[in-house]
């Protein structure tokens, strides 16, 4: 361990409210990026199925594969990754690994006839149908499991909230709309089909804001000192710059302004891409800043009345 890192660790351990660094610094950044990409992949698959967009489905598959690689990069011992399926009964990470594996296999089975018709099996064959079902099961698992990974973290009170899974589901859906918008833009689809998506984006963004507001309110009103410190870190501490710059300015103000413009008139292709990317990047910074704001439950508790 290099000297600066060791000194930082000792400093952290001496403080009563110790910040978590394992899942946001060093290789831990891959954990945040992996969850972000996998969430976007899940949402993009769902919305692309709904809008029957072939390019969106392929994009979701590629993103899920990238998310898997990012998850492996987060591991200290990636060569042992296959062991992660062993504790499915209690571990949310294990369930997520299962979901990602099922999704990748199912999506591949479903995509092959879409892109290579008549090559190996047809789009109406049982194999494609099995792939469809596997991809749906995998998608729902991917969208759902991430929030529970954090909720199961009893050491970090700010994450240990029942709202966290719901918040991560809405992130995934918002990211899914962004992914589909990107795919539609890249595919040169007509602008007419975007109005509904923009309305949906506004609705889901409102849900993200609502859940996030409730979570912060819960931490401030009924949370312990660690949860309150996390909120402080988020709004006025070491991660505030990511929250205000990345989450609010990039992820909310810019896309909201573009969405407003889109509701009042047709958006250009470039504006669609900017909206999608800014919205997705905002979600990344939202996850990054809330994860990095995590503070461990203080070990010290009131021991006894004063003598």
């Amino acid at each position: 361990m290099e000297r600066a890192k060791y000194d930082q660790l000792i400093k952290d351990m001496r403080s009563e409210l110790r910040p978590q660094r394992e899942w946001s610094e060093g290789r831990g950044i891959f954990m945040v990026a992996g969850h972000f990409v996998v969430g976007v992949a899940g949402g993009t698959w769902l919305f692309s199925l709904w809008y029957a967009d072939r390019l969106g489905l392929a994009l979701a598959f590629l993103l899920a594969g990238l998310g898997g690689i990012l998850h492996l990069a987060n591991l200290g011992r990636p060569a042992r990754f296959w062991k992660m399926v062993l504790h499915f009964r209690t571990s949310w990470i294990s369930r997520g690994f299962f979901g990602l594996s099922v999704f990748l296999v199912g999506a591949l089975l479903y995509l092959v006839p879409l892109y290579l018709p008549g090559f190996l099996w047809g789009g109406d064959s049982p194999i494609a149908a099995i792939g469809y079902v596997m991809a749906i099961v995998g998608t729902l698992t991917l969208i759902g499991y991430m929030g529970f990974v954090y909720t199961a973290s009893k050491g970090i009170p700010f994450w240990n909230s029942p709202l966290h899974p719901a918040l991560y589901v809405t992130y995934a859906l918002r990211g899914g709309i962004a992914g589909l918008l990107l795919a539609l833009a890249l595919g040169g689809s007509g602008v007419d089909s975007l109005n509904n998506l923009l309305l949906l984006w506004i609705g889901i963004t409102a849900l993200v804001i609502l859940f996030f507001g409730l979570e912060v309110h819960g931490a401030l009103t009924s949370g312990n000192a660690a949860a309150k410190r996390s909120v402080h870190e988020l709004f006025a501490g070491r991660v505030a710059v990511y929250f205000y710059g990345g989450t609010l300015a990039l992820g909310l103000v810019i896309p909201a302004w573009l969405a407003w413009a889109g509701l009042n008139g047709p958006l250009t292709l470039g504006a669609m891409v900017v909206l999608a990317l800014a919205s997705a990047m905002g979600d990344f910074f939202m996850k990054y800043s809330t994860i990095r704001a995590g503070v461990f439950l203080p070990v010290w508790t009131p021991l006894a009345p004063q003598r």
Binding site: Q20, W23, G76, R77, S91, F97, K154
Partner: protein, 201 residues
């Protein structure tokens, strides 16, 4: 049988013998403390006091780290309730560190030694045996305990502030002390049922 420990905070003088003897026993690298001592000051001048809180893995009955581990590397021995880590199974995802309400798990992220000149002979013999890129923690000195000895931190405490025994046996010293002197665990609200109890200072 459920191995457990009672720490008498009235007897602890904050000498760090537990922390050092643990390091000597396990040869843990820099930044890894299976046992450590926290200092705290309570009250306001002139009615204040300094308290010491020795902490280690709580070997919880409902261990959240065991539930969070995706590979089963974190596990509980059925015969004595000790929570342990199999380093050969650990993938280094650090989920157990986030799940532990007591912050008593450490990630050994690279080969480490204390001095800039390089590893000492002691470190080459003891520290190097630990796998890197895996999580480490206290295992109640299970090898010592199985051979009939006390954990190193218990054996080396000069004030006998640490008592080790069987929590399932109501006649054991640990059970008696918890009952007679109001032993309490850390963070009972977490629902983890720790096997480490403290006697009030």
């Amino acid at each position: 049988m459920r191995r457990g420990m009672v720490i008498d905070l009235k007897r602890c003088i904050g000498c760090y013998a537990c922390q050092l003897s643990c390091k000597a026993e396990h040869g843990t690298p820099p930044g890894v403390f299976f046992a450590r001592v926290l200092k705290h000051e309570e009250g306001q001048y002139p009615t204040m006091r300094q308290l010491f809180l020795p902490v280690l893995c709580n070997h919880c009955e409902n261990a959240p780290c065991v539930d969070a581990c995706p590979t089963g590397a974190s596990f509980k021995w059925a015969e004595d309730g000790i929570v342990d880590i199999d380093p050969d199974k650990c993938v280094g995802c650090r989920a157990c560190m986030m799940a532990c309400p007591y912050s008593n798990r450490y990630y050994n992220d690279s080969p480490q030694h204390y001095f800039e000149q390089g590893p000492t002979a002691y470190e080459e013999a003891r520290t190097a045996r630990h796998q890197t890129d895996v999580v480490m923690k206290c295992n109640f000195c299970r090898d010592r305990v199985r051979s009939g000895k006390q954990p190193a931190c218990v054996a080396n405490c000069p004030t006998v502030a640490r008592i080790f025994g069987d929590l399932d046996d109501p006649t054991s010293e640990v059970s008696r002390l918890i009952k007679d002197r109001g032993g309490f665990p850390l963070h009972p609200e977490a629902g983890t049922k720790p096997s480490v109890y403290y006697l009030p200072p």
